[in-house]
Symmetry: C2
Subunit: 444 residues, 2 copies
């Protein structure tokens, strides 16, 4: 009898130990607010000063501060402020006549948002206050206190005294509950227009949607420059172009070509959610850009947001077992996308040259020339939708390569339309064309 008792007792011990270990592991894996977190200080609603939130959340705050100094570059991006115009002089041509041809740098981390927006040559006395919309944790408070109208009436420099804090806690979190929230009224309106209420979203959905508070394509409506997302037809690039066409919007007129141009901002959210591999797999932006870290027994999400290529063990290793393989894949894909991006740029530069030449011809066909301009407009926005996006294609490789293929195709068609408009094939003589082989064409 005694040996059975022993066995039963040992069995009990094993079951209890396993249960305890499991429960501890479960608790350890819960985000802070679900652990019954007790705050040290109370945070006022929309508190813009992140250091106050940092008293309750020292790990999150310490990692947020790192975005101020983590300026490490990657092959194609990272957080170093290099000049896109120097790295790729085609972009000086592509943005001619627009402020992006003056200065266009790779973004640095969130803590540098105010320093960098105030230093950039694109901002001058004609810059509107709306340009602060994505740069500061003061925005949610200002929007709440004064409405979007606070910006509508002011210039950039007039708003400066109100804007004290770089991007921080209040841009994505609700004080007290700490839940993730949409703070940008333009995003809320764009979602509503699609029949979506973010309040019904899951936490995993919100771990991407809060990034869309800023990382989206947007434009300014009317003289008051009201921040608006062009999502009325949908969030795919062709749907956004169709929307801009339907309202007759353009950002600037291309000099000499007289093409009404569109400038893409940073449509990271739209690109990622356009059926990308990771999005279809249920992955959120934060899974890769804000991986969970440990501080002793505490588990927290890193707020040192940057390229996952700078910490692939944490960023990719949460799901992928072979991190070296994954990093190699990213490299392969980004190299391919970069090549396709340059091919599109060459084609668009050629289209610009052709349209400019055609516009000078006295008996040019105005309808064909306008068609060439529309092709230029659509081609360049497609390219820019990829180029302005922060992943050199990795957020959605197949979608990006399709968009770039279309951009090149349209740019070449713009060239042809320009030649037709000018009745002059000589317009096609100069261009960045495919290098033909030196061997003679074989005869079978």
């Amino acid at each position: 009898m005694k040996k059975y008792t022993t066995l039963i007792l040992v069995g009990f011990i094993i079951v209890l130990a396993a249960g305890l270990a499991g429960t501890l592991l479960y608790l350890k894996n819960q985000p802070p607010q679900e652990r019954g977190f007790e705050p040290i200080i109370e945070i006022a609603p929309m508190e813009p000063d992140s250091s106050k939130w940092g008293i309750n959340f020292p790990n999150e705050y310490a990692t947020l501060l790192k975005t101020g100094n983590n300026n490490t570059p990657t092959t194609y991006g990272g957080s170093e402020k290099f000049s896109h115009l120097i790295e790729d002089p085609r972009q000086v041509i592509l943005f001619a006549g627009y402020s992006f041809s003056k200065e266009y740098n790779e973004d640095r981390g969130h803590q540098n948002s105010l320093t960098d927006v105030r230093a950039i040559k694109r901002v001058d006395e004609k810059t509107h206050a709306t340009c602060y919309s994505c740069k500061s944790s003061d925005n949610p408070r200002l929007w709440s206190e004064m409405g979007m109208e606070a910006y509508d009436a002011k210039m950039f420099s007039e708003m400066t005294p109100e804007i004290q804090n770089p991007i921080g806690c209040a841009n994505c979190h609700e004080a007290g509950t700490m839940r993730l929230i949409v703070t940008n009224p333009a995003l809320e309106a764009a979602l509503q227009a699609q029949g979506k209420d973010w309040q019904t979203f899951t936490r995993q959905e919100m771990r991407s949607v809060v990034c869309a508070n800023c990382h989206v394509e947007y434009y300014f409506v009317g003289d008051k420059k009201v921040l608006t997302l062009p999502w009325m037809n949908g969030t795919r690039v062709e749907e956004i172009i169709a929307y801009y066409d339907s309202i007759g919007f353009s950002d600037w007129m291309y000099p000499g070509a007289e093409t009404p141009m569109l400038k893409a901002q940073h449509p990271d959210f739209e690109m990622f959610t356009a059926n990308s591999t990771h999005y279809q797999a249920g992955v959120a932006c934060a899974d890769c850009h804000m991986p969970y870290l440990r501080d002793g027994a505490a588990k927290y999400s890193s707020h040192d947001v940057h390229s996952p290529l700078l910490n692939p063990e944490q960023a990719c290793g949460q799901c992928h077992t072979d991190v070296d393989y994954v990093v190699e894949r990213v490299k392969t894909i980004q190299d391919e996308v970069y090549k396709a991006k340059l091919a599109a740029e060459d084609a668009i530069v050629d289209a610009i040259t052709a349209i400019q030449a055609a516009a000078k011809v006295s008996d040019v066909d105005p309808i064909l020339l306008d068609e060439a301009r529309t092709l230029h407009r659509h081609a360049q926005f497609r390219w820019d939708f990829v180029s302005a996006e922060n992943s050199m294609g990795f957020h959605n490789p197949e979608e990006v390569l399709c968009i770039l293929g279309d951009a090149t195709n349209l740019a070449r068609q713009a060239q042809m339309k320009a030649a037709q408009a000018a009745h002059a094939p000589s317009i096609l003589e100069t261009g960045s064309y495919y290098t033909l082989p030196s061997v003679p064409t074989p005869v079978p």
Copy 2:
């Protein structure tokens, strides 16, 4: 003391049981030849009759036979013999002047290889015996007995009596050892030219390389039509084109355009191994197309080779836990590739139209016209390298989309060169161009 004895005994039992289970599981997971398999009958070297091999390997043989009847289509492929020319009439234009414009069907399974090659309208009295090279398990025996010369001297119909068996065991296995082997002398030579000896390859490498016995780009050298793989510069599409250019090879002359054309065969191996996701992850062709199945305690590799979309639970489920997600990804990617493929076809058809028109112009510039032809040749081979490949891009989505983007870009350049050659932009008037929006071009 007694309770310790009980514990020790129980411990022993657990350890032994776990050891036994582990060993059995290990043995169960070994491929047949490593299990110390004892054959029922002895198989002669290069035995062409697969039914004999089937006595020793009834499961493998039973699944091989299924390739004769498994004619299920997938969205873009599968094993149903539908006509590519009917499904996509652009291909009638693209292959004008060549036998592929007569009849071009989707491939059926391995067991149909002889039936289908003998029935196709492409084969006529001028067809050479080399066309049997990839269609029969008699080939290894014939190559061994008579050398490649056996084919070099004969026409297709003359060889027919020697060719009795469809693709089978002898195409990939060594009788006796059952190891995977390169049987096609052209593949062996192509690997040797790259300094590679397949005898040193791992078993996992061979589980892809044996597919390259047939699923590769090839051409016939000289009057004797010696089967040759054009891999001397490498296996990427641009390296293959450069090789064909360097030796002045072409498959046919495009009527009216007089472009010396290249026809791609089925470069599945080249496409898959060009840094695809799965190849970089160490996956072999057989992992997806010949997944392991069970017959009671026996584990065997399915020889019912077909699209993994017809059995994703087995094919993808060996590595991927969420098969629904994976199938959805394949659909997304193939839809994107199909769209990009049609865009390339439209551009190439436009290039052909333009070159044909230019060739009729009396004072055409012959140098520019030849450049247009070379662009047509290079564009169409790129497109065909994707189109003739059996995966609608899934073997390597990023590579495929880059190749298609290049094909479209080159075809548009061919159009422009033709217009320049003819001094006539009117040549560009007809074409499958981007549909311009009906709204007027906005003015900022």
